[in-house]
């Protein structure tokens, strides 16, 4: 958890902001993410707000959509609020989580091969499940991937749709990571599963090299073929998510490198120890 800055909100709805989830400005993410606490001090949540430049109304529709979903591996949304004069927000239960860009920073560079493999398997499984339910994520990017002790969770649901309606070009719009935006979606096409697969290729390239648009030679050999296929300009030529799930699937939670565990432990400890400024109303009873 990082300290809040001057332009950060102090509250999301009734909840008090304890700190930022993201270490740096969430480049390429449609939302700002904060760790917040309920007024009675009892619940700690991960809250999200649209980032400046993103249409709050369109963003709120996607947040409401995320609330109705139940896709394992998607960051759950338990409550939504705001609207009108206030910025919309959504929140779900807090779990210690490290955005993928922060994980690379903590690790001092690209992640080790076994971690990238496990990340790829977990994300492919999540997308395969979502696509089987007919739900594209439409917002996958490195910043949308949150590493937790239980594996990656995806935030940023519907960021592509929130950025602009279908039919309008989306290149370079705020809230989108251009390296992860499939060409057909950049041109204004409706987000569909092949767009998620394109973004998956970009995210895995990022995890293995530090950037979403790699030279083929930079990629570790095991990634070259799948990532190149995912990044095909023609959606028809990309594999489907379930074809990217390895057989057998790796057992147990995704292994985390030591610096990522250290960062998660620090975040968890800070949030456990964090205090609200005003005592909860139940004291004195």
């Amino acid at each position: 958890m990082d300290a809040t800055r001057l332009d950060d909100p102090r509250r999301t709805g009734p909840h008090t902001v304890l700190g930022r989830l993201d270490d740096q400005n969430e480049h390429g993410s449609a939302e700002r993410r904060f760790i917040v606490r309920s007024p009675d001090g009892d619940r700690t949540l991960l809250a999200r707000l649209p980032r400046p430049g993103v249409d709050p109304t369109r963003w709120a529709i996607e947040a409401e959509g995320a609330r109705r979903l139940s896709v394992p591996g998607f960051l759950p949304v338990g409550e939504v609020g705001g609207g009108g004069a206030e910025l919309p927000w959504c929140a779900g239960p807090y779990v210690p989580a490290l955005p993928l860009p922060d994980a690379l920073r903590a690790h001092g560079g690209p992640l080790p091969d076994p971690v990238v493999r496990a990340l790829g398997a977990a994300l492919a499984r999540t997308l395969a499940t979502a696509h089987a339910q007919g739900v594209p994520h439409a917002g996958l990017s490195p910043a949308a991937v949150l590493l937790t002790a239980d594996g990656p969770l995806l935030s940023g649901f519907g960021a592509v749709r929130a950025a602009a309606p279908d039919g309008e070009p989306r290149s370079g719009l705020p809230g989108l990571d251009s390296g992860c935006l499939a060409p057909e979606q950049a041109a204004g096409g409706r987000p569909r599963p092949p767009g998620d697969v394109y973004a998956l290729g970009a995210v895995l390239a990022y995890a293995a090299t530090g950037h979403t648009v790699p030279e083929r030679a930079e990629l570790p050999s095991f990634l070259r073929e799948p990532v190149t296929a995912c990044l095909s300009r023609d959606p028809e030529r990309r594999p489907q998510a379930h074809q990217l799930v390895p057989h057998p699937e790796p057992a147990g939670p995704m292994p985390l490198p030591a610096p990522v565990v250290v960062a998660l432990a620090h975040q968890s400890a800070r949030v456990l120890a964090a205090e609200l400024h005003f005592p909860a109303p139940w004291t004195g009873h």
């Binding site: 606490r37 001090g41 009892d42 700690t44 109705r68 139940s70 394992p72 591996g73 239960p93 807090y94 779990v95 210690p96 499984r125 499940t129 339910q133 937790t148 002790a149 239980d150 057998p248 699937e249 057992a251 147990g252 939670p253 292994p255 985390l256 030591a258 610096p259 565990v261 250290v262 998660l264 432990a265 620090h266 968890s268 400890a269 456990l272 120890a273 964090a274 205090e275 609200l276 400024h277 005003f278 005592p279 909860a280 139940w282 004291t283 009873h285």
Partner: protein
């Protein structure tokens, strides 16, 4: 102190509060229990400002002894001296309160003993880094003229940043003799210094000796003087050479020096740090840890944020519940100190045997070496009610479903009874087949049975007041409701697991053109989250696919039978449906396995025969308990709150630590017939219940000590504990009956 995990359930660190735990204490709201022992209880608690802490408390009746209260104050002082880097950060404390308390940081990591049992001995660089940091921790204490006196693997927490030394229960100021020198030595014999074992002054050099023992343990998985009875250990500590088998060769000379009998020959903490880490910076502490240990730390980092379990209900008023440690009434004044210390329960006896000065908060070792407990008082026995009920095969009635205030019994035409009185709650229920009915403990789910062959399989919740089906939340259009093999297997708050089939109805059992699937259905949306195909069944086969099922955390554990009724233990990833492993259940009779699935969030303890814990993730044996005799057979186990209970042939009930398989207690031997090995124990609140054929009665065994009650005449039946109703439910072939559960 600040032990974030408990010896009872290290896996889910959060235990439920009991009905008599206070709501607030020292300005903190209690959230969950982390553990409890004879002296007090450690809670997860929240301050008025929302900070989450580990709140260590001491029972008020124990704190009534001024000497014990002084010890608490010294412990708080020692924890403050240790500071937030090498120990758990102290936020607040009140040693003078009626119930003294200490609020510290909740430490995010396992203790060293659990770390080693989980990940094996640490690699040499990790041992060196651990040792150097523990030297710094001890130096911090010694600089303030405090010695720890009880450094041992269970007092060293392994966090991502390094070890944290906790539990200063017997720490004291150097030269301050009057508190601990009550004639015998204090401390844990396995890691005690020879001077401590002799009753001499234990100085900072004594802590270095203990550190040598802790590092030996970290590097090899065993202490330098083995384990066993206290007296033997103390003899070996004083006279035997340390056993450094398994320690990397480069560490042997260093540890040999630490473990020297002469305190003057041992290195100082700074000297030892230099020997362990000769001048180089070996990188971050976490970077030296093996991957399974890193993941265990990560699991605890996340696990503390899980929703706490709900508070346990009060036991029913008309049963004579033996007091739990926390509700022990204050003793009359004038009792001796020793009596005070033993009041808290069997766990303290072991500590008392070493010295009245020893603390025992959350002791583990001590309970296994405790003196034989006094015979326990019998629980209140009474047949409270009995109702007729019929089953297809009276020898193997299926288990009942237990909910808060509702008991579902029967096999065809399920009855809903009030467990307290036996009164029928449902006049004309829609719930017909037990195998199509399941519960998550709160709601009842049922798959509707219709006679129209075209009807899709629909899943509903059941109105628990009437037994009528609510509108279905899920309709599985491709599956047929009428098919014989349809089963609701188990449920969680989020999902229901079921077996469903496609194809045409057959008059007897399975049909030849049917295809079967195992499915997970979302209880909110009704959508199927995954499905996996099941093996085909020959036409007219009567063998259902599944005998029992449990969804625990990320695992779905199934007892599945093959077409020729061979039972197999099959575990799936609950998230994806992927089968993780699959192995035959040897020596188990499938019919008896129904509802006999002992699972916790780490292991599954399969059926009868041998007593073994299999890792949920891979099915590999984690431990195997050897009985008194070679090849001793065991009845099916039950697991609750981190303890595994099973009946051993020719011995009686044994209670084992679920993580390690270590024996906590065993009954003094009693006659156990083969039939007594057919059913698992029923675990109550203060007692564990088993049926003893030799005395034709129910036996209640004290859950803390293993002391056995007098048998209560009762018929052989399958017994189940309904803790929320306070009832021990007996399912016979033609009746259901209830006794008080204590």
């Amino acid at each position: 102190m600040l032990t974030p995990l408990t010896p009872l359930t290290p896996l889910t660190p959060l235990l439920p509060l009991t009905h008599d735990d206070p709501h607030t204490l020292g300005g903190h709201r209690l959230v969950a229990r982390l553990g409890s022992g004879g002296m007090g209880t450690v809670y997860l608690a929240r301050s008025a400002t929302g900070r989450t802490v580990a709140l260590k408390t001491m029972h008020a009746h124990i704190a009534a002894d001024p000497a014990v209260r002084t010890r608490f104050r010294l412990e708080v002082d020692a924890a403050r001296v240790m500071g937030p880097v090498h120990g758990a950060r102290v936020f607040d404390a009140d040693p003078l309160a009626e119930t003294p308390w200490l609020a510290t940081e909740y430490v995010l990591g396992p203790p060293l003993d659990e770390a080693v049992s989980l990940a094996g001995p640490l690699p040499e660089p990790a041992v060196r880094a651990l040792g150097a940091l523990l030297c710094a921790a001890l130096a911090q204490l010694h600089a303030s003229d405090v010695v720890h006196r009880d450094l041992k693997p269970s007092n060293v927490m392994i966090t991502a940043d390094g070890p944290k030394v906790i539990d200063f229960g017997i720490a004291r100021a150097l030269g301050d003799d009057h508190l601990t020198h009550t004639g015998t030595a204090a401390g844990t014999p396995a890691f005690m210094s020879p001077e401590q074992a002799t009753g001499l002054e234990h100085t900072s050099a004594g802590d270095v000796f203990a550190l040598g023992g802790v590092l030996t343990y970290a590097a090899s998985g065993h202490g330098p003087f083995g384990s066993g009875r206290h007296a033997d250990l103390m003899y070996r500590v004083r006279h035997a050479d340390p056993d450094l088998t398994g320690v990397p060769a480069a560490l042997v000379p260093v540890l040999t020096r630490c473990l020297g009998k002469d305190p003057a020959g041992r290195p100082t903490t700074s000297g030892l740090a230099a020997l362990l880490h000769p001048g180089q910076d070996g990188g971050s502490f976490a970077g030296h840890l093996p991957q399974p240990l890193l993941m265990e730390i990560a699991r605890r980092v996340g696990g503390v944020w899980n929703a706490p379990p709900p508070r346990l209900p009060a036991p029913p008023e008309h049963t004579l519940t033996p007091p739990l440690p926390s509700s022990t009434p204050p003793p009359p004044s004038g009792l001796s100190r020793r009596r005070l210390l033993t009041l808290g329960g069997g766990s303290l006896l072991g500590a008392a045997a070493v010295g009245a000065g020893a603390w025992a908060w959350l002791d583990r070792e001590d309970s296994t070496t405790a003196k034989p407990p006094a015979p326990s008082k019998d629980p209140a026995w009474d047949l409270l009610w009995q109702e007729p009920v019929s089953y297809a095969d009276p020898r193997i009635p299926p288990a009942p479903l237990l909910l808060n205030g509702l008991l579902l019994v029967g096999e065809y035409g399920v009855k809903g009874l009030d467990p307290a009185t036996g009164a029928a709650k449902w006049a004309d229920p829609d719930v017909y087949f037990m195998r199509r009915t399941t519960t998550d403990g709160t709601k009842v789910y049922a798959a509707d049975y219709t006679l129209d062959e075209a009807d899709p399989l629909r899943v509903s919740t059941v109105d628990t007041a009437t037994g009528k089906l609510n509108a279905p939340f899920s309709e599985l259009k491709d599956l047929r409701a009428i098919l014989y093999g349809t089963q609701l297997l188990c449920a969680t708050a989020e999902a229901v697991y079921l077996a469903g089939g496609r194809g045409t109805h057959a008059r007897d059992g399975f049909g030849k053109d049917q295809t079967w699937f195992l499915l997970k259905v979302d209880t909110r949306s009704g959508g199927r989250l995954w499905e996996v195909p099941l093996p085909a069944r020959p036409a007219a086969s009567p063998h259902l696919h599944f005998l029992s099922a449990r969804a625990v955390g990320k695992h779905l554990v199934l007892v599945q039978q093959s077409a020729d009724a061979e039972p197999r233990l099959v575990v799936h990833d609950a998230r994806t449906g992927r089968a993780l492993w699959d192995k035959p259940l040897q020596g188990a009779q499938p019919v008896l396995n129904r509802a006999h699935l002992a699972v916790d969030d780490r292991h599954v303890y399969p059926g009868a025969g041998e007593l073994v814990a299999l890792g949920l993730a891979d099915g590999k044996p984690v431990w195997r308990f050897e009985g008194l005799t070679p090849k001793a057979r065991f009845g099916p186990p039950a697991v609750q709150d981190g303890v595994v209970y099973a009946v051993e042939e020719n011995r009686g009930l044994v209670a084992l630590d679920a993580v390690s398989g270590a024996l906590r207690w065993a009954e003094k031997s009693r006659a156990v017939g083969p039939e007594d090995l057919a059913t698992p124990p029923a675990v109550g609140i203060s007692y564990v219940y088993t049926y003893a054929g030799a005395s034709s009665g129910l036996v209640a065994t004290d859950i803390r000590t293993g002391a056995v009650s007098h048998p209560f005449k009762a018929a052989r039946a399958r017994y189940f504990a309904d803790a929320s109703a306070g009832r021990l439910i007996a399912i016979g072939g033609e009746y259901v009956a209830a006794y008080p559960l204590a």
